[in-house]
Symmetry: D2
Subunit: 345 residues, 4 copies
């Protein structure tokens, strides 16, 4: 049994971690923290969860925190997470950070996209980007894992195998993404009020969403050259899920069969990426409540344009599920532990 | 490992059974049936489920069916279920029937409430009403379990402990119930179209819903005298869940403390009924995706009226979850097997 | 043309007033006010509205305000409205107050239900309760109209004709009401966040909602004796609309025909109350976007219980629509002006 | 007063026409037809509408129909509409057809996209495509108006001014469109059931939606050369509205200012197209219940890609509202009659 802590356990990703980890046979949830002064019972925070009567989310001092677990999931807001991660690493703890604070390799991008200077550039260099499909080997040895963003997860898994096989025109990538409201977090804003969201739909942060450089960095890595994308997120009137519709021009000589093969090779051994038959596409409900990323594609021979659609649950494969997947990899557990039911035989 | 079959596996309750049983460590799902001629892959039926690639829902002849399992969950429409149950009982099989066909002890009620004569009155007598909280001892030995209806489950669990303790005026019971759309099943009707349900709310079958006699029979049993209720169901723009708000006049001498005590005594050892503090009430989301029935109450001293609110997931505690609970009881398994995650310790 | 002002024009009821009054042929919207310092264009506040480019909602001093119009709709929060109404009445202006500040005749009820003492008890006495169906004659001459609350409107119109005809047991009234989220106003709260409301449903303020005394006062007036009700509001995952399901024991000798006659007599000349045939009930969508109150009923001869269901749009008949109806009455306009389309002939 | 008929009045577009036309001061709704044998009261069909007690939707023989009105709105399914239009034109009647039967100039496209041969090719030639912004002059004299499709309306209004000014690379157009469920019509299908749509989102008819050739034909007309587009529609969990996010590469020398100017010139006198400031985008709610098409744009200098977002109410500007706009133009009425409230002055 490994002692795990969730730092910042009252937000959506913290709650999902509590749900997943409370069913994990090899994990002891040894600490759940909040910056709020008054303790909160897990029972009141997650009413659908059973048997948590005596368990509380409470304020921890840094000293207390360092002793509270071996592995820490950090669910703090961007920029606050970095300092906590730094302190926990100093104390020799394993850290999986669900914020964006260790995702961008180039520290100079933080002021532009997150509005603040990065104070731990040397730690940033050591962080491993926690995309199991791309970086499993490094994750196995990583002590600081930067858990990917929700939009980047949906986008990258739909694109990187095509880049690796040089099947697409790198200047042609358009990502039209649609997310449920929980992606915005629990902070009270007019934009997330029921009467604003219901029966509504809109784009937001057009051309300026902070996940853009994360997507570009990862795709550039796969291409070994600079890749720029057009990325437009939209807000769906659903509580959870992301569906990304991605448009690309194919490279010379690319075929539907080649696309299919690229996806199949990339994902044939992946437990959480499911590739559909050509011209079959996932819906949000197919992945809701799961750690899957489902991918479908269509090749439009008329316009030589490739359409790839991916779907994830933004709170699972897009956040807490992937974080547990990373933990399972790091600790040498079965990668699907607590993330998959026993399958029908 | 016990071989189990789901007869009529393509509807909402069948799908929930597949989800629950595929994670049950002591069950082998040996047959999934449909009346449709073409087989359907479980994968296409339940896209969120993992590892079902080779498993199919298909048409079974009666002869095939009888050999296919030891215990059968019947998810057929009312009146069709009875004949299948009869045949399976002849073959000595255990049956849990999710239809209404064996719920009403008085066969003469079927023509009025279900529009047809009951053809198996002697089998009807042997059926045990599958409410674990009321009938656990009989369920342990039952070979034909009539799984309760969704509205009756929410209603009965909120009322019967009060009747047993003679705390309420039996002539005063009003049940105002609200259900998600999945309660209506998968049949295509104008009433269940998105554009009809969204941004809408309405009562239906006012004073004439077929669950009324089931509620009255069970409460009458608890009271040892005839109980009649006013029952009005409503349709909520949500996919799943039932919340029932129940109004009763208290009997002379009844107090809030007495009510609390009645609930606590009835449910202190029940794994799936959770009683709130006085004046604290459950919401649908508290039980969504769980097998819990949550109960809250308030005593209005001004009007001497007691208000009890109960909430369940109509597809789980109101159907498939309770069916599995009944199976666990019948087969001597841990009653919560496959219905609860490992709790936080 | 009458100059009208909306005081507190940025909330849901203010916006509805702007929409209705901008289409009213006899009204000039001469002032729209906000307590916010920066002006807000009507265009940005109500994007679906046409032709408002030059029109602004802005902060007015009291001196400015008094000169700005002849008739004022006050959409301020409870307790703040009273002072503004007082000042405007001092200046001789007509006032229609959409808050609760002049609804309860007994000033001593305010501390209990609204948490504050009432500072204008003499003005309170002069206010007319703006229920056109009950008080049309007084409204014609009223200079201060207390526009009814949303729940009271739906409740009262479903009950008072039965009380007048002595058809019901006054001690038996149970009101189970369900409201859309806009009823809670625009204030940011966790309870009105999309992720909290969607796929959810719950009761709130059980036995303690501040509309209870308003309902009781009005029904008591109709009965000429004290009436107490059990009132339980619930929150629906829809943006607008109220549906109330009301349960009553009938008085001796009451019949379904008598109930029907009571409703028909009360409402045969009412432009905005529509009575259904027995056993036919309204749905929220039937009244969404309209000023109608639809009423249906069913008589359960088994339990001698009468069920009445009423539906309104909480922002129209439950607030701004009724306020304009009251203005039309007060100013001698056609009562339906700006509230009904030209009918099919 | 002009006598107008709605042929096929029980579907969503028929109902919207009844709502709009019943408030039109210059129209008499002289006939509402259905293929169903039993008459349907307008009251039961459109409960939110007032004063229709005596008015019915009923079956008309062709002979009856020809005498029933001067102008006919045809809301029949594709391919059925053509024959009715043909008969009515033979009788000299004005026809506005809301189906696709007269939208595609090239009759040979019908077998591919609609699965049937077009039987009235000579009538097809005479039909005028009813886009007021592009074809107002021809609409004034047209006796057969092909009312545009919903997706084409949203798409074309966002693109054609840019094509006219040669601001975009014609091979680069990607239209990612999202529609509410009413776009699918009232036909019962599993895909439009509440439990399938709620909390869901998905693409459908990827690369093969029948509106593709309509969009291409119109844009090709604007460009005076063949234009092909990539068009992917998605299904939103809302009842009405379309939002289209459109991606285009700009032509050499194109600037944000040029784009802005192109839109402003095209729409400065248009009553129903509203152009936002650069980087400001419409939401579905901004146009819900209106005949507006709102357009916003952003120029991504990094990728030289232009993003245009348009929003309409699919049942109004995308169908019945635009049909009435066309009627107003054809009959010389104020173009906004019955489509706009009196504006704030």
């Amino acid at each position: 049994m490994v002692n795990c802590a969730v730092v910042g356990a009252t937000g959506y990703t913290g709650i999902e971690l509590i749900k997943i980890l409370s069913a994990h046979p090899k994990v002891c949830l040894s600490a759940l923290t909040t910056r709020q002064k008054e303790p909160i019972s897990v029972k009141s925070l997650v009413p659908s969860l059973y048997g948590c009567d005596g368990f509380q989310v409470r304020n921890y001092s840094l000293t207390e925190l360092k002793k509270a677990a071996d592995l820490f999931f950090i669910c703090l807001p961007h920029t606050e997470a970095a300092q906590t991660a730094y302190e926990l690493r100093l104390a020799g703890k394993m850290v999986i950070d669900l914020s964006a604070d260790f995702r961008l390799k180039n520290a100079s991008l933080y002021p532009k996209w997150y509005g603040v200077k990065h104070h731990y550039p040397s730690l940033l260099k050591k962080a491993v980007y926690g995309s199991p499909e791309m970086n499993r080997a490094q994750i196995r040895k990583a002590d600081l894992i930067a858990n990917p963003g929700c939009y980047p997860t949906a986008s990258i898994l739909a694109i990187y195998p095509l880049i690796r096989k040089r099947l697409i025109d790198l200047s042609s990538i358009v990502i039209d993404a649609k997310s449920g409201v929980s992606g915005a977090g629990k902070k009270l804003t007019p934009a997330t009020q029921f009467c604003e969201v219901a029966e509504n739909f809109k784009a937001y942060k057009v051309n300026c969403h902070q996940h853009t450089p994360e997507i570009e960095q990862t795709l550039s890595g796969a291409a070994s050259k600079k890749v720029m994308v057009t990325f437009v997120p939209h807000l769906l009137p659903v509580d959870r899920g992301i569906l990304a519709t991605i448009y690309m021009k194919t490279a010379k000589g690319a075929t539907a069969a080649g696309v299919k093969k690229a996806f199949e090779e990339a994902y044939k051994n992946e437990p959480f990426v499911r590739v559909r038959k050509e011209n079959h596409f996932p819906a949000l409900r197919d992945v809701r409540g799961t750690n899957f990323c489902d991918v479908g594609f269509s090749f439009d021979s008329k316009t030589k344009r490739l359409i790839v659609i991916s779907a994830i649950d933004n709170l699972l494969k897009g956040a807490s599920g992937q974080a547990v997947q990373n933990m399972n990899i790091r600790l040498g557990f079965d990668e699907t532990e607590a993330l998959l039911p026993r399958a029908i035989k």
